[in-house]
Structure formats: C-alpha cells, structure tokens
C-alpha cells in the first residue's frame, strides 16, 4: 500500500540512489576503457542513465520500517535494527493529539515495559518480524498509546487537534489515527485526511479483552 517512487524503494531510504546513478556509469566507462572497448557504448549507457531527473528524485520514507505503534514506554515496529539513541517522535492519539519526543533505549521482551507482551497478548502481538523497544520518554503515561515515527523527515506539528507530518516530503501531510476494535487497537497513517482511501501504514495491538469498538 506504500507509494512506489520510481523504483527507488529498493535502495535504503533512497538517499544513496543519486550517487549511484551518477557514478556507476563512470566506473563502467573506466573499466571498459581499460579493456579497449570502444567508448561509444559506455557513453551511450551514461547518457541513458543520466537522462533521469536525479535532482528531482524525492527521498523515500519506508513506512514499514519507520512507523510503529506504542503503548506507554514501548514501541512495536517491523524493524529490528534501531540503535540506542535513535530519535522517535511519538504521536499520542488522544483528543487532542499531542507529540512527545522519545529515544530508543534497547530491544526488550519485558512485559513490564511492554504490555503488548503480557502472556495473554504476546502470542498475537509478537509475530515474526516485529521488534519491541523500550523508549526513553517524558510525559508519556503507561496508558498512553499512539504511533511512533522513527527519525521523522519532517517535524510533526499539531493543527486543529491532529498531528500532521509531511513524511514523504511531497507537500501532503500524513495524519495519524487509532481506534478500538472488539479486542484491540488499530493504528493507521493516512495522507491528508483520516479514514479516506487506503492507509499508508496500519498496525494492530491485540489487548486480549473485550471492548466496544470505536473504529469507523
């Protein structure tokens, strides 16, 4: 459901792609010259590759690896490579929403830190590929929950009670929602307006008890 951006999703965050596009043909030309093969062919290849608007290529934002959900001081995210000290912007999805800074402390399996890992919840929440991290936070209560943005490319800000952040740097803000299902919390990130079209990202926190759903 993520927007594909000219196939650069395959390069980590897309940041190195312009460099690769520019230098790869030069390296290729050098190698070919050594082998005394006519330079015309490599010049043609160079021209073909550099016709792409390299400078205009937008930075990618890999939602699956940069967005997770949190409850209290615990972040659940499909990324097992977050280093200690990595910054996370927490969107607390109350009314109104608020934004709190946080940092990654360490990976954890503690149900004391992560209520999502309580015995009756872990089998559903701790699925393969999902990592749990203890967070260093202030002003985030044990029952607070919401969405964490790892190293946000644009600082989220509150407008009309909703947090907004232009994560794709495309001029459109992403917005953040959470709502109750019958036995869990569904989190989602949308572009421009909540609950319209498909979400950019969604997550689910299984709580293991019954509630009145609030999701639209």
């Amino acid at each position: 459901m993520e927007r594909k951006q000219d196939g650069i999703d395959s390069i980590t965050n897309g940041r190195r792609l312009p460099v690769l596009i520019f230098y790869r043909p030069l390296l290729l030309c050098g190698a070919i010259a050594i082998l005394l093969i006519p330079a015309a062919s490599c010049r043609k290849a160079h021209e073909t590759r550099t016709t792409q608007p390299v400078a205009a290529a937008p930075a990618t934002f890999t939602f699956a690896e940069r967005i997770g959900w949190f409850q209290g001081p615990c972040l659940a995210i499909s990324n097992s490579h977050l280093a200690q000290g990595t910054s996370v912007a927490l969107v607390v999805t109350g009314e109104p929403q608020k934004i709190q800074p946080a940092r990654i402390l360490e990976p954890t399996t503690s149900a004391t830190t992560c209520k999502a890992l309580l015995p009756d919840r872990a089998k559903t929440n701790a699925t393969p590929g999902v990592a749990f991290y203890a967070l260093e936070t202030t002003n985030v209560g044990a029952a607070d929950m919401g969405i964490g943005i790892v190293e946000p490319p644009a600082a989220p800000a509150i407008a009309d009670g909703l947090a907004r952040a232009d994560l794709l740097r495309d001029g459109q803000s992403e917005v953040f929602t959470s709502c109750a299902t019958s036995e869990g919390i569904k989190f989602a990130v949308w572009t421009a307006k909540p609950y319209q079209g498909d979400p950019r990202w969604s997550g689910y926190d299984y709580l293991g008890y019954d509630m009145q759903p609030t999701c639209p």
Partner: protein
C-alpha cells in the same frame, strides 16, 4: 492484580469452550492442521471475574464512575471505595496500568462485562502456513486456500471456518466466534 492473575485468567484450552462451539472449533482446527497449517490458540474462554475487574477499574480510574457505584460480584472480594474519591481513583488507576488496559480516544465504554469469549463461544487463534494448502470443509469438500498476511482479508479461509460454524470477525485478526462478533 496478583489475585486476578492467579485466579481469574483467560483459558487457552479448547476444552473450556461451550458446546456446540467447542466441538466445531476442534473440527476446524483439526482440518487446518491436517492440511498442514500451524494453529496457535491464544485465548478461548475468558474469565467473567477478570472482565468485572477490568470494567470497574477502568471506569473508576478514569473518573467515569464513582467507586460507590461499583456493583459486587460473587467470588471477587475487592473494596473499590477507599472512602476518598482521589484514593479510590488512584487505586483503580494503578489497576489500569498494571493490567495494561488501553484508553483509546473517543472511548467512553469500559471493557465489556459480557462477550462471546466469556460465554465460551469465541476463540482467538493464529493460523499460518506456506503458499497454498487444501483444507477440508465440514462437508468434506476440499478448498485451496492461499496464505495471506492479513487473515482478515482471507475470505476463502473465512468460508471454510464458517462451514464449521466459526465466523471470522474481520477487525481482529485472531478472532473467530459463533456469530462473528
């Protein structure tokens, strides 16, 4: 909380479900496993006592009810009213935090006192397999079912479960019940 975690826990045994849902769930799980799927049971019957504790601590701790309004429940000895609203609220808030109860935005409804899980008519299971398997429906016919990461979208699997009397709730990935709620 210590008492609740020792004496009012949820079961993960199919045998604790109510018939005929129990036998239907067993048949469905057997069909899945015979087809090569891995089935992990998360919860079956939930404790009414635990639900009672969740319900009232949530209401009192969030200031949505006074401790004096809490009803009694046979078999649960708890004093909600500490003789002081702030102390009662603080005690209940401690339970909310300890149980890890959620406080979703817009939610004015406390954790439920009754449900299909409490009645023994719901089961939470995680079902995984690779690629495509053939699962037998209740009538013996085989259906090819391809694995999907989002089980809520896997309508073919839902139809197999429904043949056994287990209906999928499509908002909560592990949840199957007698009526889809």
């Amino acid at each position: 909380m210590t008492w609740a975690n020792a004496h009012a826990t949820a079961s993960d045994s199919v045998d604790d479900l109510a018939d005929p849902f129990k036998s239907n769930a067993k048949d469905f799980i057997k069909a899945l496993e015979d087809a090569g799927a891995t089935v992990t049971i998360t919860e079956t019957r939930r404790s009414a006592k635990r639900a009672y504790l969740f319900h009232w601590c949530w209401l009192i701790g969030l200031g949505k009810a006074k401790a004096s309004e809490a009803t009694d429940m046979t078999g649960v000895e708890i004093e909600w009213d500490h003789g002081d609203d702030d102390k009662s609220k603080a005690g209940a808030q401690e339970m909310i935090d300890g149980f890890g109860l959620a406080v979703p935005p817009n939610s004015t409804n406390a954790p439920a006192l009754s449900s299909n899980h409490i009645a023994g008519n719901a089961i939470d299971i995680n079902i995984t397999w690779k690629d495509t398997i053939k699962i037998k429906k209740k009538d013996g016919t085989e259906v090819s079912v391809t694995f999907m990461d989002d089980v809520n979208q896997n309508t073919t699997l839902h139809s197999v479960g429904e043949s056994y009397g287990l209906k999928k709730l499509t908002t909560d990935k592990p949840h199957w019940s007698v009526d889809g709620r």
